[in-house]
């Protein structure tokens, strides 16, 4: 599993690989938690690439309801149908008619279980929704079926691989956790992040890459509103390549800092703390500089 993920450009940690493997084998959903930007969503994308399954994504937000997540009746079409048949047909017949699959608009969750090929279903940022929505998910997650009152139960054609991500902004319900495997993703250590950066920006020289990752780790150590994510280290690496920088010194850092730090107040803190160290040359001692 790990090699598979690596082949599609995702360097999974020990636990991430193992839990994904278990999820695929046991057919259980995985709840992935961790700070923003450690690659939770990316893990789902990588899994879909590695298993060559379609990725269906449900982005959660406050106020998301079943009409957006499960299914919705296509009112307009139903209305047209009623008008077309208005004369003659009895109520029974029309009712049979308009509550058929033909008039159902399937939303991500229904799509995921209807699909005849197994898919990867990503339910992103589940903590943004309310508890009622979580409760609604339970049926889908444990039995892989959806009950539609007018139509009956739609059962899964195939077992989707489900990933739920959460930024841990609120406690999820016990019932939901119970149905999931749990995976905590954290920022990788220097060596692994170095590998990740090198994988995505292979042209960057080893020493610059190492220095970059060290700076990123130092920035994460500060008390910031938004610490830089892995995606941002990769962006930064690419930016450095584009600028043709062969070293990270104070002036390069100054110019490109906005790639990794996205808050005005954070910018000041980082400029003050990290900028100074860079010009001191404290950081350069591990690379050849």
């Amino acid at each position: 599993m790990r090699d598979g993920l690596e082949a599609v450009g995702y360097l999974a940690g020990e636990s991430a690989a193992l839990v994904s493997f278990l999820a695929a084998r046991l057919g259980k959903p995985v709840l992935v938690e961790g700070p923003a930007g450690v690659g939770k969503t990316e893990l789902a994308k990588a899994l879909s690439r590695a298993t060559e399954r379609k990725l269906i994504r449900l982005q959660c937000y406050e106020g998301l309801d079943e009409a957006k997540a499960l299914y919705e009746w296509n009112y307009r079409k139903q209305l047209l149908r009623i008008q077309a048949e208005a004369a003659g047909a009895g109520w029974e017949a029309v009712q049979e008619d308009i509550f058929g699959p033909e008039f159902l608009l399937s939303r991500p969750l229904l799509q995921a279980i209807e699909d005849s090929d197994p898919v990867v279903l990503l339910i992103d940022e589940i903590d943004k929704t309310d508890q009622e929505f979580e409760a609604m998910l339970l049926e889908v997650l444990s039995d892989f079926q959806i009950s539609i009152p007018e139509l009956g139960v739609v059962e899964a054609q195939s077992r989707p691989l489900v990933l739920l991500t959460s930024n841990n902004t609120r406690e999820l319900t016990e019932a939901l956790k119970r149905r999931c495997l749990y995976l905590w993703l954290d920022y990788p250590d220097v060596e692994r992040e170095l590998e990740i950066v090198r994988l995505h920006a292979p042209e960057l020289s080893e020493t610059v890459a190492r220095k970059l990752v060290e700076v990123i780790h130092m920035v994460r150590g500060l008390d910031l509103k938004k610490p830089p994510s892995i995606a941002e280290s990769i962006d930064w690496a690419r930016a450095l390549l584009m600028l043709g920088a062969d070293d990270i010194d104070a002036s390069v850092f100054e110019r490109t800092m906005s790639i990794i730090v996205k808050h005005r107040t954070d910018l000041d803190v980082v400029a003050e703390r990290v900028g100074v160290k860079l010009s001191d040359g404290v950081l350069g001692k591990l690379g050849t500089g």
Binding site: L18, L181, V269
Partner: protein, 486 residues
Amino acid sequence: MASSGSSAPGNGARRPRAAGRAIYGGLPESGPPGFAPRLLELADELRREGLAVGTSELLDAFHALEELSWTDQEDFREALAATLAKSQEDRRVFELVFDRFFFRAVEREAVERGLTEERYGGGDRLDLEDLRERIREAVRRGSDGEMRDMARLAIAAFGRQGEGSGVIGVDVQRIRRALELKGEAGGRELPDPDGVPQDRLREFERHLRRELERALIERTQSLPPAKPLRELDRALPSGPLQDLAAVHRVVAQLKRRLATRGHEQGGRRRSAIVDIRRTMRASLETGGVPMRLRYRHRRPRRPELYVLCDVSTSVTSASVFFLSVLHALHDSFRKLRSFVFVERISEVTDVFERERSFAAISHAIATDAGVADVSGYTDYGRVWLEFLGQVVDDLDPRSTVIVLGDARTNGREPHADAFARISERAGRTFWLNPEPRLYWNYGDSVIQAYEPYCDGVFECWTTKQLEVFVNALAGGRGIAPAAGRA
């Protein structure tokens, strides 16, 4: 960490031999043999430490293990963790229990089968200086196994076989001192050539402890009783005594929870208000027939907050905690006015809005808030009178007043009537007291005088207690069970 050699519990547990000269009363009774009972025992221990391990989790764990070769310890541990521990806190407890459980299981097995290890006994053939240097090197960058080996060497060299103090913690510290190992001082200076990183040192101490325990078990042929995890070990760093960054992280998390509250509690309100304009618009889709009602969004209550924070010396340890709470509150409430007081009160809203770094804020407050007048002792009575004078016209039923303080007036007039006037004008009044409830109303604490005028009085010196309070503040729910007035 890894106990040496075998990892998974053995399958063929035999009946325990007659326990020898056991100081702990020999081996505890072992359950039925086999793998499944062991796992159940582990689950049982996890439950005792407060994890919600249900039957469905256990079944999952068994299914997961079927898919793996569980002779690989890392896989074995990860599979169990993924199925049994469902949050970051749980995961931490799991790690501790897992280590303890399998350490004990392996040791029990060893005692039962009568396995002993050759231990290196001599000391005089070793160059102690050389040994110290090698250990320091291993602690600095050695792998886990190297550290363990070095721990055993250190015990052999400095452990005074058989005449340890009997208390493992004491022995660990004695050996550490004998090795002249000391942690690096925090700060920016260049690395101290003799120091080793703090976390590595702790890791090494853990190996020492483990090896000492192992030797003790082997010597006495018995297992010490399993102790519950200490509160300190299991909790994520969140106490007020932890460093500021840790406090801040937890408060930041709290802030996010606060932001998503209300929605999760509100659910579908029955008394939703129909938004006529949007309903009509939507009805165009269906030929003018209003098939779907559109509701007006309900705005969450955004309280106006007045926070008064005691920064006198009697609450020094708590005031750092409180100031960081205040700091975090400033990020999430737009209508927040903060005040600090010792002998008199001073508004510091500007300081919080101007400064971002916490250090700068505490510095600004310490130097020019002008809160201490003459004596530097808290004077609650005077503070209320001044507060009334400054803001009485701004208080209205939508405002919430929060007082962070220990209500120790140093014998001065408490002016409870002034406080009553404040609480009357404000919608809600809460008091957070950093002292344990036990100490309230002893000595010069006059919280009793103020309590009748508060909507809730909370004991608050950990982030957990703070969370109880925040729930009460944002949702209104949970005041009754949490406050539990004495």
